[in-house]
Point group: C2
Chain length 513, copies 2
Amino acid sequence: MTDHKRKRREGGRSAKIASRKKSAQIEAPRFLSRKIPCYELLSEEELVSIEEHADWILQEVGIEFWGDEEALKLFKDAGVTVKGNRLQFDKGHASELCKTAPKEFEMHARNPARSTIFGGNRLVLGPAYGPPFVYDRKRGRRQGTMEDFRNLVKLAHMIPWLHHTSGTVCEPVDIPVNKRHLDMVYAHIKYSDKPFMGAVTAPERAEDSITMARIVFGNEFLESNCVIQGNINVNSPLVYDNTMSGALKAYARANQGVVITPFILGGAMSPVTMPAAVAQAHAETMVGVALTQLIRPGSSAVYGNFLTTMDLKSGAPTFGTPESTLATLAVGQMARRLGLPFRAGGHYTASKVTDAQAMQESADSMFPAFLAGANFIHQAAGWLEGGLVVGYEKFILDSDRLGMLHRMGDGMTINENSLGLSAFKENSPGENFLGTEHTGENFETANFRSEIADNNSFEQWEEDGSKDAEERAYERWNTMLDEYIEPPMDPAIDEELKDFIRLKKDSMDDEWY
Amino acid sequence: MTDHKRKRREGGRSAKIASRKKSAQIEAPRFLSRKIPCYELLSEEELVSIEEHADWILQEVGIEFWGDEEALKLFKDAGVTVKGNRLQFDKGHASELCKTAPKEFEMHARNPARSTIFGGNRLVLGPAYGPPFVYDRKRGRRQGTMEDFRNLVKLAHMIPWLHHTSGTVCEPVDIPVNKRHLDMVYAHIKYSDKPFMGAVTAPERAEDSITMARIVFGNEFLESNCVIQGNINVNSPLVYDNTMSGALKAYARANQGVVITPFILGGAMSPVTMPAAVAQAHAETMVGVALTQLIRPGSSAVYGNFLTTMDLKSGAPTFGTPESTLATLAVGQMARRLGLPFRAGGHYTASKVTDAQAMQESADSMFPAFLAGANFIHQAAGWLEGGLVVGYEKFILDSDRLGMLHRMGDGMTINENSLGLSAFKENSPGENFLGTEHTGENFETANFRSEIADNNSFEQWEEDGSKDAEERAYERWNTMLDEYIEPPMDPAIDEELKDFIRLKKDSMDDEWY
């Protein structure tokens, strides 16, 4: 980066920020505020059992880092027993190493009004992450493309209930594997001004993502603030491979965020019984968080969890199941004990289409994560088919439900107005309340209004074309894309990003798998 | 009833019960056991505010009984202030009058193995109540008939997760209004051996329902046991009409059960703000329960609640909304304070078809009722279109989800097996757990297995015909009806029931509205 360029950019950014501040009309919340209690499934005694079991796993079974000498050395220097690839922790040591990780942290967006906060009673919501396929009602199921990626980022940008545009909203398989991260990160920056995640598929791609964030935010700002995150999956059971630990280290070294997520289907990547899986996941997450703190104390780490069941006869993952619901509630309690921001849940489903199964499983996956106190849910919109597919219509339906969760998070306020004192004084028994002054006064604020549910009479619904929820959602996302307005960006930054991408792409041959 | 007939019947019934006892192979639970905590939304202070507000409503606004001198006199004799139709209660008096109602009670089925228990940590589940229309995937939406009624009772009988066959599973509009209760009660008795509800549409129809129960259970047994219930809706706001109070009195007088349910769409039948609606509903329910106890102390009464929102622009009822979710959680707390068995919730939806909206709203209606500690949910299967329609496919999908709730109610057991101690000892990091002995030992019991979810790969799903959830459910209910086996019934009782119905029908002209 030349000095000239930097100068031009910095000036441009300041001007940009000023103009944004002037015109800011912020309707969308920066996060969901949860004013209702978390659900406490397990007793203190049961939680201690799981905690002790996690410690036993780390001491007796151990956890391995494959192909990462640096990580092994860091742990060894911190007093962990290292034998070959395997780490063994004394009781309580792993959680001790997590203590420098912040309980709460701000994650900055390029539009300051979109910056969000992780932790406490806040919930940050983002869309699907990872699907190689996309689905829409008209074109059906097909491989994801960069055009789909942009569309999904645009929708995530527009939806007020999504505070974060997540990361790989779909795999753009029309772009070479070794180059697509550049286009993906660019799309997040260009088509939205919300926080987002960078690449983790190779340490150098993580570095590229961070470099692009440096171009947007400036070196100095980035050095002391979280502006980009890496989504780190543990290779459960009890393994970190060097792709994941490499990406983890890249983000932590730059003082950027990571989300540490054991990916567990009970019975395969953990024992089949959920308490075992919860303990194992707890052990795995703590070790990942510990590594971030050994690399850079005080860097931000989210305690993540992806834990569900499988059909033990076919091996297929299953979602919204009672066992996964209970497990999610328990994991939330474990995360709160550790005091770290907690990621879990999503609108998960195994369904192939946007049908009754899809939303039943999604609701049953999301509700427990919400009540478990999740601080980050980044698979909150679009999931179909166990995450292999992101559906445009599902994206809309899920997002509408996120609006409902915002309202639910507000809880119930008990006061003279909400108790309807004046309404009861106005009306006698048997009289309808629609016409009361109290109803008029509370008309606008009383109820969340879904954008997509059809509550009309059968006759009206029939007259409107007998549309099911998927069809209404299809119309909605098409209208939204028509109405999309690109958030302003300093042309100098845009140019610099494009230059960086061009140079990077020119330096590599295409790789397709 | 002649002495001869009674003799024949009584002998027959004893023989019948003996043979049933011998061959009893009970797989279906009598109720769902909730071993997980209820969710506590509001603080003690907030609950006291609502309780005091309910008392204020009963004291200052009052509640009316229309056309029921007996009820007015009973309350007056109990010390309630009566002015015209209106009752005004001193603070705390209504709840005081509820104190003789049982906290728990057994409801007997004609098959003793199907008898269930209301209250405590138990949840009794029953299907839809009241829809004039039915829907199935092949024939579409149409008026309900007696054939549909029988089909739905048969399905409810077969589904292990329904413990009760509810009441008017659909309105059989092909039978005259003044006679259909006879055929409905007969269908419940004949095609299932689970507990059920009788008619409430007129006091004499309630009496007929009770008479039919007497034929089945015998006078003496009925006199001291709950074998039939009446579903009493309050004419909210703050009115009981004499149809409802008449039916209430008929059931209570016979020592049978009632479920007292304010039917409230916030903004119409109550103030638009939910805390007001919760307080009003609490007031209304207490007065209904009080009347049962003035008629017959110790008779069983369920604290019911039907409280949801409406689209304030169109007036259409809305379901699974965040406001109704919160309200349901709060009502549960109020019911627990009063200590009565609590009815709320159901798989509610405004959707016209068995689509994504239908199951999203249903899950979001049911989950809070479950966590609110509901003891009875009798709209748990089949609802579509705000209860105007019962859907055959929805019936199946909802019931499958009830199975999941049973498993969720079991909670998580933390012990050496569930913590997977042996599995962790058997495996090293990175090794799949499918082949461990621990997985084998827990294979059958680890996970609830849905009968209807499709968790297969896209390719397998496509090969199976690309069926959505509704289509799979359509096949399932058709297969079930093909496989239905009528539960045995003493022919003498059957004959006596038919005689009663014949005589009753012959005594009336047909009424069609």
